[in-house]
């Protein structure tokens, strides 16, 4: 294992410090915690947004702390859900009197730890609502199982719910719009190469030179199926068909798309993949109103990508386009 670090045990703590050093205008650390919050807190009376999870998904989630998105991000160890006491710290700092929305990705660990934290916060008199993102169509949805995973689509939830919270909406309204995004956002990803959890030291799986893992999550875990490497065109095709059938989409739907790199995939390749999404959307008569291409929700240095689609109505489109100012996402630059 080769990593730029001092030790696996200190990596997360050092990286959180490093994020604050890199983005001091956006982030500050709640002392003694793994919680990063806004350098300039939101005004009183507005709903706070807290997200988080294991580390190793950077820029998620600290990269989305700032105006128009999150109020606090809670970081666990690499790929390990944060503990309830840390989440509670995040809730406390994000509460400005109007309650706090927890945006949780659907993993057993995250769901349970955030749940315990919510119970603790409610015992302190803080109003808390939770939404659970489960956008990964690779995993079958069934009431007998854990359900779908939450992956890159989570960032659309941050953006849209964050924009509404910034406008002064109530906790119920912010929760409702978050759930509306969750109801419609769908993603699926694949890996060309695995990643190595610093604490484990070994790649999470190994692939032959012509193999990919299809339907991966964001924790280095194997996907639902091992397949042969195919062209960008065919990869886009199979992900998009699966997503479209699941929703289902129909001609005329307006879409937002996220072309998300898993960590080691060059923007050159992500851009080529974005072109395939555009060709697909044209041939299916589904206008692509918004395309986000880059690294939004990574899995350490995994090579691969995920595609996310979100059908847009006017409300969602407006909130998605609203200004935001965070380490990773900035919209609405004012000049001349």
């Amino acid at each position: 294992m080769k990593k730029i670090m001092n030790s696996p045990d200190t990596l997360v703590a050092e990286a959180l410090e490093g994020l604050v050093i890199s983005f001091p205008q956006y982030l500050k650390q709640v002392p003694g915690t793994h919680v990063l919050t806004r350098a300039t807190p939101k005004p009183a009376g507005r709903v706070g947004l807290v997200s988080g999870g294991g580390s190793g998904h950077e820029p998620a989630h600290a990269g989305y702390v700032g105006y128009g998105m999150l109020d606090a991000a809670v970081a666990g160890e690499v790929f390990t859900s944060p503990t309830p006491d840390q989440v509670l710290e995040g809730i406390r700092v994000a509460d400005h009197g109007a309650g706090v929305l927890l945006v949780v990705k659907n993993y057993t660990g995250d769901v349970m730890n955030f749940d315990i934290a919510r119970e603790l916060a409610e015992a302190e008199g803080i109003k808390v609502a939770t939404v659970v993102v489960n956008d990964d169509v690779a995993v079958e949805n069934s009431s007998f199982t854990t359900g779908r995973r939450g992956i890159a689509g989570t960032i659309f939830v941050h953006k849209i719910a964050g924009a509404l919270a910034e406008q002064g909406a109530s906790l119920e309204e912010v929760e409702a719009v978050a759930n509306r995004v969750i109801a419609h956002v769908r993603s699926m990803g694949f890996a060309l190469e695995p990643c190595t959890v610093p604490q484990a030291g070994q790649p999470t799986f190994t692939l032959a030179d012509d193999e990919i893992e299809m339907g991966i999550g964001i924790h280095g875990e194997p996907g639902i199926e091992r397949q042969k490497l195919r062209s960008a065109h065919e990869l886009a095709q199979s992900l998009l068909e699966k997503i479209a059938m699941d929703l289902p989409l129909k001609a005329g739907d307006h879409l937002a798309c996220m072309v998300n790199g898993m960590g080691a995939t060059p923007l050159l390749e992500l851009a080529a993949l974005a072109r395939e999404v555009s060709l697909w959307s044209k041939s299916h008569d589904m206008p692509l109103d918004v395309v986000w291409t880059g690294e939004f929700m990574t899995s350490l240095e995994m090579a691969g990508a995920s595609l996310t689609l979100l059908p847009l109505d006017d409300t969602l489109r407006t909130l998605l386009a609203a200004p935001c100012d965070t380490p990773q996402l900035r919209q609405g630059v004012h000049h001349d």
Binding site: E77, M112, T146, E221
Partner: protein, 207 residues
Amino acid sequence: MTNTQFQQLWVCFGQAVSKHKDELNQLDAAIGDADHGTNLDRGLQQVLEKMQAASPATLQATCKLVAMTLLSTVGGASGALWGSGLLAAAKVFPDTDTCDDKTLTQAIQAFVDSIEQRGKAVVGDKTMLDVFVPALSSLAQDAEPITVVVPEIAAHAKEWAEATASLQAKKGRAAYLGPRSVGHIDPGATSSALWWQCLGRIIGGSV
């Protein structure tokens, strides 16, 4: 069980997890995210330090300290489950140095109930419950004293853990693999077996 025995249990478990850390991580790598050994080990090392520093004097105090420490240091699914399970158990343990066998069984029952409630899994879902549930039912049903029963359970625990290999995971991270989860032993069941082996040694008097 005495408070000293209960503390020995955690020392033993801490050492066992530390020794099997890589193995637990590898089991988790196959069907999860390769951190189960690291997670538990991180928490249990903290437990040992804090237990030494605070020397809690009663079963309830010890159980609470272990619970809170695991809850705030393990993270992941196992942190939430062990932590909230032990918090529930602590409510059953008396605030004294010793408890009788029935209370111990009730405490373990509370632990398992809480885990079932929090995690919504049942036996056969390929989780730690696939060790804890059969262990608990042996304990509850058997008429013999626990100094006999628990070592017997301990002797079976590894088999129960290994039997998870044939199951398809329904809860937790491994569930995302669907049929691909079959053929691998569940890491949480494996660490749970280590816990029962420790309890067996301590109650059987071999530590």
